[in-house]
């Protein structure tokens, strides 16, 4: 089987320089807008963020989703390893084979030499277990975090509009956009709590396996949080112009369309419709919101061993070029700029 060229480059779309410049401009605009709003509103903006955060933590749905995902993640990891680990040892599997076989459903990294020394083999296997556990939990964060962001985002402003409590909010010395940013900030804090809880679960599992604490996954979570944040901003904005259920529906459609499975399906359909069977359509993966580019980059933080990196990159598309994150930044910035243009002028009747 011919190994694919996994160095997915955003230049497929616009060229790295143009895309980078675009991302800088958009990101700069949003940052400037955010700073301006923050300065204009002072402490009140932070207060709204804190209040929104506390309000989210008091919702039952938040803890139901978080609780379910934590239980599910622990169950998946434990069942996988408690049942499979002795067999892996008996069959002399390498760590990377574990990752490839169980997470990537791939048989690409075959013929990898297994350390002859049983202690070294054990270490190698544990390395694979660590990577796989973290990959699974990161996958949970992106999936459940996105769902959480959509469910929270659906209600945050829509409920204010529906119950007309937005009138009271607007009558306070608070900029319109600060209301939007404040709500989004509260939502992001709630997602951060979820990320921290997943990290605690991850750390607990790794301690249980006798591997020890790993802090390297925290930046991975930070990068991955662009996905739920973008979906939260999108849902929050859509809920100001449409019914919350409609907003949530479209956000979920985009969420599924932009993950590996969804974009893979769309790419396949596009290929067959446009008769592009012979052509590379990786650029397609960059057209929808940012799950894939974020995934390509976030994995970097999880792989610290050069050898593991070498083998993982043979089975899993990965890039260490941070310019791949330009596209997610552009998506997020575009949503926030559109929200600024419309929400700050919106009439509440």
């Amino acid at each position: 089987m011919k190994p694919r060229d996994f160095a997915v480059d955003p230049s497929y779309l616009l060229g790295p320089e143009l895309l980078g410049a675009f991302a800088w401009i958009m990101g700069g605009l949003v940052l400037g807008l955010w700073l301006k709003t923050l300065i204009k509103n002072g402490r009140a903006g932070g207060h709204l963020t804190r209040f929104t955060f506390l309000d989210i933590l008091r919702t039952r749905l938040y803890w139901v989703i978080v609780g379910c995902s934590l239980v599910l993640s622990i169950t998946v990891v434990l069942v996988m390893f408690l049942k499979a680990y002795p067999e892996m040892q008996n069959e002399g599997m390498s760590g990377i084979e574990v990752v490839a076989g169980l997470y990537l459903f791939s048989d690409t990294p075959t013929n990898i030499p297994t350390p002859a020394d049983p202690a070294a083999q054990e270490r190698d296997l544990l390395e694979g277990v660590t990577l796989l556990t973290t990959l699974i939990l990161l996958g949970f964060y992106v999936f459940f975090g996105s769902l959480l962001a959509i469910f929270i985002g659906m209600g945050l402003l829509a409920n204010e509009l529906d119950r007309r409590s937005i009138y009271t909010l607007i009558s306070k010395p608070l900029d319109r956009m600060m209301i939007f940013f404040g709500k989004l900030g509260g939502c992001y804090l709630a997602l951060t709590v979820y990320a921290v809880l997943l990290w605690v679960v991850d750390a607990g599992l790794l301690l249980y396996f006798g591997i020890g604490l790993k802090f390297s996954m925290l930046p991975a979570y930070f990068v991955a949080s662009i996905v739920p944040l973008t979906l939260a901003a999108l849902t929050l904005y859509l809920s100001t112009i449409a019914k919350p259920l409609v907003a949530g529906f479209w956000a979920i459609v985009l969420m599924f369309a932009s993950n590996n499975f969804g974009t893979g399906m769309l790419a396949m359909i596009t290929k067959s419709v446009l008769r592009l069977e012979d052509q590379e359509v990786d650029w397609f993966f960059l057209l929808l919101p940012p799950q894939r580019p974020v995934g390509l980059y976030a994995v970097n933080f999880l792989i610290t061993e050069p050898l593991t990196r070498f083998f993982v990159t043979r089975a899993f598309p990965i890039t260490s070029d941070p310019s791949i994150l330009a596209l997610p930044v552009v998506y997020l910035a575009a949503i926030l700029l559109i929200a600024y243009a419309t929400f700050s002028r919106k009439e509440f009747n």
């Binding site: 402490r43 009140a44 919702t59 009271t168 009558s171 306070k172 010395p173 608070l174 509440f348 009747n349």
Partner: protein, 382 residues
């Protein structure tokens, strides 16, 4: 010597007027402040305010405000009266930048309404307020106080004060809002409007959901804030409250400001008589211009004659008989705010004919006109 903050406080309490280089002084104040007293800036000023709500492509837009020009001086209790859908809440929404006016100008405390800083001096209670029900009353007040960027110590000091002022009680304030009754929600809503001791307090239907004791408490509270120099803008349907509390009243109907007068100007202590004649043609125009200032047609052949000062009913009866009137019914009446309100609205066709006739007869409107009873023993009102 008092600093700028002290002057600000005094200004907010209405103890000083705009004369010189005070916080809100303008160039005029800086240049001539020592020599010329400038008039106090109004708390609310609108000029030619128009608000049009588009209704889609096929339907004509709804004109909610038709060139409303209004000025409310600082320190006044002002009320806006009008039937449902007459544009009262729309005006408040425009004042608070919740809705954008189609045309015209408006300012709050001499600043444009889009300036968020001006809202530090505005407290607002919306109609039928809803608040975050997962929070307790105290937490809610802490939240809104935070949005005003109130000093933490001051906020903690103010919360029990306003809770007490609105008659909520410390125990109730510690309960989640989802357990509150409608009246309690109204009280916490009023509390959040008063929390920052704003210079301008806008209350939209503050008595909704309150029992008679609560209504009385809120009336006393409004009076007390007025005495402390706050301006109060009241939107209410309860005319009795308006008569008790307000200095001036604006009557609005279908987006048009019909009257903007003091209560005294509107009601005037003169009397009136309601008459019904067998020969109603005589009432087409004012039959007694020397005794009555004007005539208002109330429907069902009835008309009200607004008498000139000192004119008594027997003199009117004599003059009517002398003019050839065949009197079927005559009742003496003192003009109340309600009468004036109904007159003004009635003239614009805002009251159904049957209701007008019943009101003129001193009856409450009834669903079935045949149930109306004529006290004079005449035929039932149509």
């Amino acid at each position: 010597m008092e600093g700028r903050a002290g002057l600000n406080r005094q200004w907010n309490q209405g103890r000083i007027q705009a004369r010189g280089p005070y916080p809100r002084g303008q160039l005029r104040g800086y240049l001539f402040g020592a020599l010329l007293p400038s008039p106090p800036m109004p708390a609310v000023a609108t000029a030619g305010l128009v608000k049009r709500y588009p209704q889609g492509l096929r339907r004509p837009p709804v004109l909610a405000l038709k060139g409303v020009t209004l000025e409310i001086p600082r320190g006044e209790v002002f009320s806006f009266l009008g039937p449902n859908g007459s544009g009262k809440t729309t005006l408040i929404k425009c004042l608070l930048d919740i809705a954008k006016p189609t045309a015209g100008t408006l300012s709050l405390l001499d600043r444009p309404v889009s300036d968020i800083q001006v809202r530090r001096q505005v407290g607002y209670l919306p109609e039928s307020p809803y608040f975050y029900d997962r929070f307790t009353g105290e937490e809610l007040l802490r939240f809104y106080g935070g949005l005003y960027a109130m000093n933490y110590a001051h906020l903690e000091q103010r919360i029990p004060v306003v809770i007490d002022e609105v008659g909520l009680g410390a125990r109730a304030a510690a309960r989640p809002l989802r357990t509150y009754s409608k009246g309690m929600l109204q009280r916490i809503g009023i509390a959040q409007a008063l929390l920052a001791e704003p210079e301008l307090i806008i209350l939209d239907e503050p008595s909704t959901g309150l029992d008679p004791v609560g209504r009385r408490q809120i009336k006393d509270l409004i009076r007390s804030y007025h005495q402390r120099g706050h301006t109060v803008f009241l939107n209410t349907h309860i005319l009795e409250d308006v008569e008790d509390l307000c200095h001036r009243v604006g009557i609005i109907f279908q987006g048009e400001l019909l009257a903007l007068q003091t209560i005294e100007e509107l009601t005037q202590t003169r009397s009136a008589v309601v008459v019904r004649l067998r020969n109603p043609g005589l009432l087409q125009a004012n039959p007694l211009p020397e005794l009555a200032e004007g005539i208002a047609h109330l429907g069902s052949g009835r008309a009200r004659l607004d008498l000139r000062d000192g004119v008594e009913v027997p003199a009117v009866v004599r003059a009517l008989v002398h003019a050839g009137a065949e009197i079927e019914e005559i009742t003496s009446q003192v003009v109340t705010l309600e009468d004036r309100f109904l007159d003004l609205i009635g003239e614009k066709g805002g009251i159904p004919e049957s209701v007008r006739a019943q009101l003129a007869a001193g009856l409450h409107p009834v669903e079935d006109p045949s149930e109306a009873v004529d006290p004079a023993g005449g035929t039932p009102a149509p």
